[in-house]
């Protein structure tokens, strides 16, 4: 419930025409005030936000709202930097579009660290009230309501990927080309597979193992395995790496997103040899 409260409060107090800074301040605008005054007292300092699990979702939201706030950029010369660890989904594709707009204008960077087998990072997909799996939501309400992750993802896996490494970087692409669209679908399928595998473990009374994939210790262990590989990189450099971010962050880029229903997605998939081939190739 508190995320609702948080977001309602945010829009209410920060962005509506009402007096934004009255005495009954929300937690988030109080944090923003404090941060702005710290930045004013310490010129040249940068702003970071982080958290694990639920804290990862919160820092993603906080970083987003901080970067969207004009005052932040009067005091800050660098992007707001979010480092979220094991964060669940935060918002839908419209949130992603807003988030990417801030990234495109250099106001925000987000390193999203996720273990491939960590179910929390693939949630929420199952809703007891609605009782359907997230991609299925697209059937009825259109893809705009499906959850989307944001930021540059560092995914770490128990076993190696095809390239022999246990990690890979990726960045959410739009659906402008058949390749990017096919890639999105196959990534979703991989996530789904990991989710099912983890659920299987829970059913087999191995919930402790699944919870282990989500623990700070497991994240630390995997980060140390890839220390030499990622130790030569920086977040800013990754944000400039076209082989990871593609064209989506280019100045003036207009993302192409299908905000339509599943029927239209099916039509696009069945109409494109590239997409079909790519999906079948990945399935092998």
């Amino acid at each position: 419930m508190w995320i609702v409260a948080l977001t309602l409060y945010l829009s209410e107090y920060l962005f509506k025409k009402k007096c934004p800074f009255n005495s009954t301040k929300s937690r988030i605008s109080a944090i923003l005030d404090k941060v702005h005054s710290l930045l004013a007292d310490n010129p040249g300092y940068s702003l970071y936000t982080c958290g694990h699990s639920l804290g990862g979702a919160l820092c993603t939201l906080f970083g987003f709202y901080a970067a969207a706030h004009e005052q932040t950029h009067r005091l800050l010369k660098e992007p707001v930097r979010i480092v979220s660890i094991a964060s669940p989904y935060v918002g839908n594709v419209k949130f992603l579009l807003a988030f990417q707009s801030l990234e495109r204008s250099g106001k925000l960077q987000h390193l999203r660290i996720a273990n491939a087998e960590d179910v929390v990072t693939l949630m929420p997909v199952v809703g007891p009230r609605i009782g359907i799996v997230s991609p299925m939501l697209a059937m009825t309400t259109g893809v705009a309501n499906v959850y989307k992750h944001c930021g540059l993802k560092l995914q770490m896996k128990r076993k190696e990927y095809e390239n022999g490494k246990i990690y890979r970087f990726s960045y959410p692409q739009d659906q402008s080309t058949d390749e990017s669209y096919a890639n999105e679908i196959t990534m979703l399928m991989e996530d789904g597979k990991n989710f099912v595998l983890s659920l299987k473990k829970v059913v087999k009374n191995e919930a402790k193992i699944v919870a282990g994939y989500h623990s700070c210790e497991e994240y630390e262990r995997r980060l140390n395995i890839i220390k030499n590989d990622i130790g030569s990189k920086t977040l800013s450099a990754l944000y400039k790496d076209k082989s990871i971010v593609g064209l989506v962050l280019d100045a003036g880029y207009k993302p192409v997103i299908l905000t339509t229903t599943t029927q239209e997605h099916f039509t696009r998939i069945s109409g494109s040899e590239t997409i079909k081939k790519s999906i079948l190739g990945r399935l092998k």
């Binding site: 508190w2 300092y45 990189k233 920086t234 977040l235």
Partner: protein
């Protein structure tokens, strides 16, 4: 005759801080991740220690845990209360290992990490009100790395989080629409993590 600082200003540096800033390279991705992970991990322990202190079950009172306080001091206090924290039930034997790992990060005096999580970091704000189960955040300032970090605590237990997640979304105004008209007017955010333990902002 122009002073050193006037010359700096002529070179385009508006303040000494800015000059200093130019000398600080961005952390590499491994150090960055470890620093942020340490922060995310420490906030769980600090909140738990403060809760114990409030109940009078720690070796220190809550007033000794109020910011401003250095991170090193906090780690010292957590270490002194290892047994109390384990007895409180939320930790198993992993706690000692965690503390050792954090100490290790701060001990190596030459490493970048020690500058970020070590003695040069001050905790300037820690808000956990009275309820251990509500939204908890901390703000730290590090003068060596010249950074301000806002840290949020995760869910109280890992399993609670897994059971409590829901799929519903709520529509809110998109603040970026005011800056970039190409972005949608509204957006959907996670409706929240339902549950008896997560009623936080208004309770």
């Amino acid at each position: 005759m122009k002073s050193f600082f006037d010359n700096l200003a002529l070179c385009g540096f508006s303040s000494v801080n800015e000059l200093y800033k130019k000398a600080i390279p961005e952390l590499n991705l491994h150090d960055e991740s470890m620093v942020m992970l340490s922060g995310a991990l420490t906030i769980y322990m600090v909140a738990d220690l403060r809760a114990l202190a409030r109940k009078g079950k720690a070796t220190v009172g809550i007033e000794e845990l109020q910011p401003p306080i250095t991170i090193n001091k906090i780690l010292e206090l957590i270490k002194a209360n290892t047994r109390n924290l384990v007895d409180s039930g939320d930790y198993d034997n992993e706690l000692e290992g965690r503390i050792a790992a954090l100490e290790n990060l701060t001990r190596h005096s030459n490493s970048m990490l020690s500058n970020v999580v070590g003695k040069k970091t001050r905790l300037v704000e820690f808000v956990d009100k009275n309820d251990q189960n509500e939204l908890v955040h901390a703000i730290t300032v590090n003068d060596a790395q010249m950074r301000i970090t806002v840290i949020f605590r995760g869910s109280v237990t890992k399993t609670d989080f897994i059971t409590d997640a829901k799929v519903a979304q709520t529509r809110v105004d998109n603040p970026v629409h005011l800056i970039d008209l190409d972005t949608p007017e509204t957006m959907n955010l996670h409706f929240g993590f339902h549950g008896k333990r997560q009623h936080t902002l208004f309770s």
